[in-house]
């Protein structure tokens, strides 16, 4: 029982962090950033030395954890901000569909860049092996990593909430997310807020990359796409633009996946994802605006 709970929470954590990264950017510039998943993949590969060999040459990944973590977060934030400056800034006044297509294209550029440097074969990496040790809590044996994932996610969520609620930059970001042009008329600098959102989103991608990389022990250029899909669904269910909704929906999706894995009859288990997506459709049928609708995206009447 405890095992299921922890599985659900740790999977949900990944989805929630991913959804948050998408919702943050959607909030300030109405962009669904499909390149987000590839930023995640980039962060994992940032730990390796470029080579097309089957064997991974771990490079930055050998750093001790207190250097490794900031390094990955910075990689994510840096790439994300770079994407904003080089690509998204040009499309800011364009329509949202154009920006979305641009984000698709950018995602492919990043993915093929990785492909060129590292080849498409998944590589096995062994990061911070000490985290894979199981520990015993209340009679259940859990991988230490799962516990750390959950704790770290909670800390990130808490930190982000404090940042948004208590700092001036957070205030400006929330104002901009709700009504961008009004915020600008009050002197809020558009570039600063958008770059801030991209940096945060990129750092979140870095966090996911670390957790996922350690968890699966592989570096795969496709790995971001899998999380990205779930994270995107979570942002939609949560109500596009609503950060709390994205987090909530992320955890719900994680829980749904794990619970169905356990509860479904053995024969149906291979089709688990179909059931999860079915549940998604049901939720959207009853709440098309998402669980928590973001006020800022409402049409004015």
């Amino acid at each position: 029982m405890l095992q299921i709970l922890f599985d659900a929470l740790s999977l949900g954590s990944l989805y929630a962090l991913g959804a948050l990264g998408i919702a943050l950017i959607f909030g300030v510039m109405r962009l669904v950033n499909f390149a987000h998943g590839d930023v995640i993949a980039f962060c994992v590969f940032a730990l390796l030395w470029p080579s097309t060999d089957a064997m991974a040459i771990v490079f930055a990944g050998q750093l001790p954890w207190y250097l490794l973590v900031p390094f990955v977060l910075l990689c994510g934030a840096g790439l994300s901000v770079l994407c904003e400056i080089v690509v998204f800034r040009r499309f800011r006044t364009g329509n949202p569909a154009t920006m979305m297509i641009a984000s698709f294209a950018l995602g492919f550029v990043i993915r093929y860049f990785l492909l060129m440097l590292f080849s498409s074969r998944p590589k096995s990496i062994n990061l911070l092996p000490e985290l894979s040790q199981p520990i015993e809590i209340f009679g259940a044996r859990l991988p230490l990593l799962q516990l750390i994932t959950i704790i770290v996610t909670m800390l990130i969520l808490l930190g982000l909430t404090l940042f948004l609620r208590r700092t001036r930059f957070g205030l400006e970001m929330r104002a901009a997310a709700e009504n961008f042009s009004m915020a600008r008329m009050l002197g809020v600098r558009a570039n600063r807020v958008i770059m801030g959102a991209f940096a945060l989103s990129g750092a979140l991608a870095g966090a996911i990359a670390l957790i996922f990389g350690i968890q699966t022990g592989t570096a795969d250029i496709q790995m971001g796409a899998a999380i990205m899909l779930m994270a995107f669904i979570a942002t939609v269910i949560g109500g596009l633009g609503s950060l709390a909704g994205a987090v909530l929906a992320g955890f719900l999706l994680g829980a749904a996946s794990v619970i169905m894995q356990v509860m479904l009859p053995i024969d149906a288990r291979p089709f688990r994802d179909a059931f999860v997506y079915g549940a998604v459709i049901l939720v959207l049928l009853f709440r098309p605006q998402g669980l928590i609708s973001a006020r800022g995206t409402k049409e004015r009447v």
Binding site: L171, A175, E178, S181, L186, G187, R295
Partner: protein, 244 residues
């Protein structure tokens, strides 16, 4: 020298020309009403000054700087504060947070923190009900309270010129009177320059000051509100009749 000067401003939305070759200027301390029927281009003109709608032609100067084509956040820094139509309260933020959004641009100035606190108290003194609801969600305030909040929010930026787009929209007449009462008092208190857009000229006649009447994207009348308002010229201009 005038605080704000527009010369030959044209605003287009695709092929629709909303404002055509409009020129006028406002002196420091002046109160100027821009009136005119729906679709006269009043709001487009304000949005163009604020920098949120691009200008297709002409030149705008504010406080000695050319601001044509500048970003809204830079125009705000020169002392132009806008209260847009429909108020645009940040509904998910608290009342106090709404008031504080616009204070960040002076955050590097010396004594900013104490001045912001002082401004906040001054706004609360003018609008006591805002203080009562300071930690409540701004989206839950009534229309009149929201109108006061956005005026307060504009004042918090320490502006030289406040532009207000249709403060009467959707407000009961007695609430509207209150809003204007406060506005006039504030103007006297702070030597504010006011640019107010209203559909009807009735308010301009009551308050006094200068009035510009727009129709079809152009200025048709410009003069003293009380003199203009009482004449027949205004009706002719407003409805587009020709004099016989």
């Amino acid at each position: 020298m005038s605080l704000l000067a527009l010369s030959d401003i044209t605003v287009r939305y695709n092929r629709l020309t909303a404002v055509r070759d409009v020129s006028f200027s406002i002196d420091e301390g002046e109160i100027l009403f821009i009136t005119g029927p729906n679709g006269a281009g009043k709001s487009s003109l304000l949005r163009a000054i604020a920098g949120v709608t691009p200008v297709a032609g002409g030149r705008i100067d504010l406080a000695g700087h050319e601001i044509t084509g500048q970003a809204p956040e830079n125009i705000a820094r020169l002392g132009f504060s806008m209260v847009p139509e429909g108020r645009d309260v940040f509904g998910s933020l608290t009342t106090e947070e709404n008031l504080l959004v616009g204070t960040g641009m002076h955050a590097r100035d010396r004594g900013w923190r104490s001045r912001t606190a002082g401004e906040l108290e001054a706004v609360y003194a003018t609008f006591p009900m805002l203080k009562e609801r300071r930690h409540g969600q701004a989206g839950l305030l009534s229309g009149g309270q929201q109108q006061m909040l956005v005026i307060g929010r504009a004042l918090m930026t320490n502006p030289r010129l406040v532009a207000i787009d249709e403060p009467s929209l959707g407000l009961a007449p007695n609430i509207n009177d209150q809003v204007y009462e406060r506005l006039i008092a504030l103007r006297a208190q702070r030597q504010l320059t006011l640019l107010i857009v209203e559909q009807s000229s009735a308010r301009a006649m009551m308050v006094g000051g200068r009035m510009i009447l727009m129709r079809g994207g152009q200025i048709v009348l410009d003069g003293d509100a009380r003199t203009l308002g009482s004449g027949e010229a205004i009706q002719a201009a407003y409805f587009g009749y020709e004099d016989h």
